[in-house]
């Protein structure tokens, strides 16, 4: 396997080359890079590739110090719809 074909986001099968080309072509922020490629938007919630997506975007523009660049949103762990929608009595 070549470095270009290397998978960075396993859930959405986004390659290193796709991330790098997208970041360069559109001068992406981490969030834009995520939205354009879907890297970090799979069922693991970006728990594996989040930092790598950030790092690729940081080759375009340095990471912001005062703000986490890729927002965390609940649920932060996988949960079934049944459990999520239940009513506590």
């Amino acid at each position: 396997m070549t470095e270009e074909e290397m998978i960075v986001c396993r859930c959405e099968e986004v390659s290193y080359e796709e991330l790098l080309q997208t970041a360069t072509k559109y001068n992406c922020s981490p969030r834009e890079l995520k939205l354009r490629t879907r890297a970090g938007m799979g069922y693991c919630g970006g728990r594996t590739c989040r930092g790598m997506v950030d790092t690729v975007a940081s080759t375009i523009k340095a990471q912001e110090r005062t703000q986490i660049s890729l927002k965390y949103q609940p649920p932060i762990r996988p949960i079934t719809f049944g459990d999520l929608g239940r009513q506590d009595k």
């Binding site: 396997m1 290193y16 790598m52 790092t55 912001e64 986490i68």
Partner: protein, 407 residues
């Protein structure tokens, strides 16, 4: 409703819980793992005085102490969200919702991956996973492994694997790319290793590292670094080779490694295959802060602490009322520092819960964190104290900005 809820049953969470329970508070500790102890479970190393630090024993004694004090545990229970409703914190898990006025996040750290072609093959795992399999579950991750990424954590775990009778073929670097960066630069890696050279069993390495304190010697050190590596506990540590591919048909069968120059660039034609049945990826640790982020804590990116850290003061209070942090969520350090931070967090909670006369204890516990940090055998980042100074400045900065808003 519990007086205190703690997310994370690692060294920080357990020690904070014990501290609170001793002051008479009712404590519930929640952890997503099935055993208490957190990352402490995997640790096993010999200390300078010749005694062994056995993480399983340390976890067991903390856990038993906690149970004796009446602390309740919810293991196997991931927290998926927290929020503040009507002045109290609500903690959401799969099956239950909990409420408390005082919530401590002791969620620890997570491992950063290092992308290498073929890293999605079965048989590739994080170095921490190999540690848990070996030390906690007593299952060999394989017969012969290669560790990609040379740092304090991977060196310590390599030794643990070897103690378990697992052959570690080598510790080596990942190939340089836009993601691996410093972790693939021989000079940067060598520099970070100099800070752990006191752990080296060979007096030659310990002596050699003293010679390498200046830049010129470091450059020379990298240039003349032996291609086959320097052995530590009989494991070759290769700073002049990088893994360019992990190969195998459906599972790991080996890695392709190539010689790299002092700047991390591959020397073409130098590729060779090394057979192995598992590969560990060691990209270092970063603070696991998801819940603090969801709660709305302000953050600051501090490389010396391993990443984004929620702003907090010396008493382990965040900017949000009733929300506290302790352990590796505040920066990557050893278990002993985490235990000391847990005591401070526990005392702060007790005081805020209305128990008076704790001021002196709190001040002592803060000093005790500093002392523990100074004596730490393993320093994950050589500049951790600088990181803590930056954090303190950011906290003050935040307090000033809030005052301005109020007036």
């Amino acid at each position: 409703m519990n007086d205190v809820i703690i997310v994370g049953a690692g060294p920080a969470g357990l020690s904070a819980g014990i501290t609170c329970a001793k002051k008479g508070l009712g404590v519930l500790i929640i952890d997503e793992y099935m055993k208490p102890g957190g990352r402490l479970l995997g640790q096993l190393y010999e200390e300078p005085n010749g005694s062994w630090w056995n993480g399983i024993q340390e976890s067991t004694s903390l856990y038993e102490h906690a149970v004796d004090l009446g602390i309740q545990f919810q293991l196997n229970t991931p927290v998926n969200n927290i929020e503040k409703l009507d002045q109290s914190w609500v903690i959401y898990t799969d099956k239950h919702t909990f409420n408390t006025d005082h919530l401590l996040l002791a969620t620890g750290a997570a491992e950063s991956p290092v992308p290498v072609p073929g890293w999605t093959l079965p048989g590739v795992m994080s170095v921490g996973a190999a540690q848990v399999m070996t030390n906690v579950h007593r299952v060999k991750p394989g017969e012969r492994g290669v560790i990609i990424g040379v740092n304090v954590l991977s060196a310590a775990i390599a030794m643990e694997l070897q103690l378990a009778g697992i052959d570690v073929a080598c510790l080596t670097l990942p190939k340089l790319n836009k993601i691996t960066k410093n972790a693939a630069q021989p000079k940067d890696v060598l520099e970070s290793l100099l800070h752990v050279s006191h752990m080296a069993p060979s007096p030659l390495i310990r002596f050699g590292s003293k010679l390498m304190k200046n830049d010129f010697m470091k450059k020379m050190g990298v240039t003349f670094y032996p291609k086959e590596g320097v052995k530590m506990w009989d494991i070759p540590i290769q700073l002049r080779k990088a893994v360019i591919n992990i190969y195998g048909d459906g599972e790991v069968e080996g890695i392709t490694s190539a010689t790299i120059d002092a700047n991390g660039e591959v020397v073409s034609g130098s590729e060779e295959n090394i057979a192995c049945d598992f590969v560990c990826i060691a990209g270092g640790l970063y603070p696991l802060t998801e819940l603090a982020a969801v709660a709305g804590c302000p953050f600051y990116l501090i490389d010396e602490l391993g990443g984004y850290v929620p702003l907090h003061n010396e008493r382990m209070e965040t900017t949000l009322d009733g929300l506290y942090v302790a352990g590796n969520i505040t920066g990557i350090e050893g278990a002993k520092v985490a235990i000391a931070q847990g005591v401070t967090a526990g005392l702060s909670i007790a005081e805020n819960a209305g128990i008076s006369g704790l001021d002196v204890d709190i001040q002592h516990s803060i000093q005790s964190i500093e002392l523990t940090r100074d004596k730490a055998y393993i320093q994950f980042h050589p500049e951790v104290k600088k990181g803590k100074r930056i954090l303190k400045e950011q906290w003050k900065e935040y307090e000033r900005s809030v005052k301005k808003l109020v007036h």
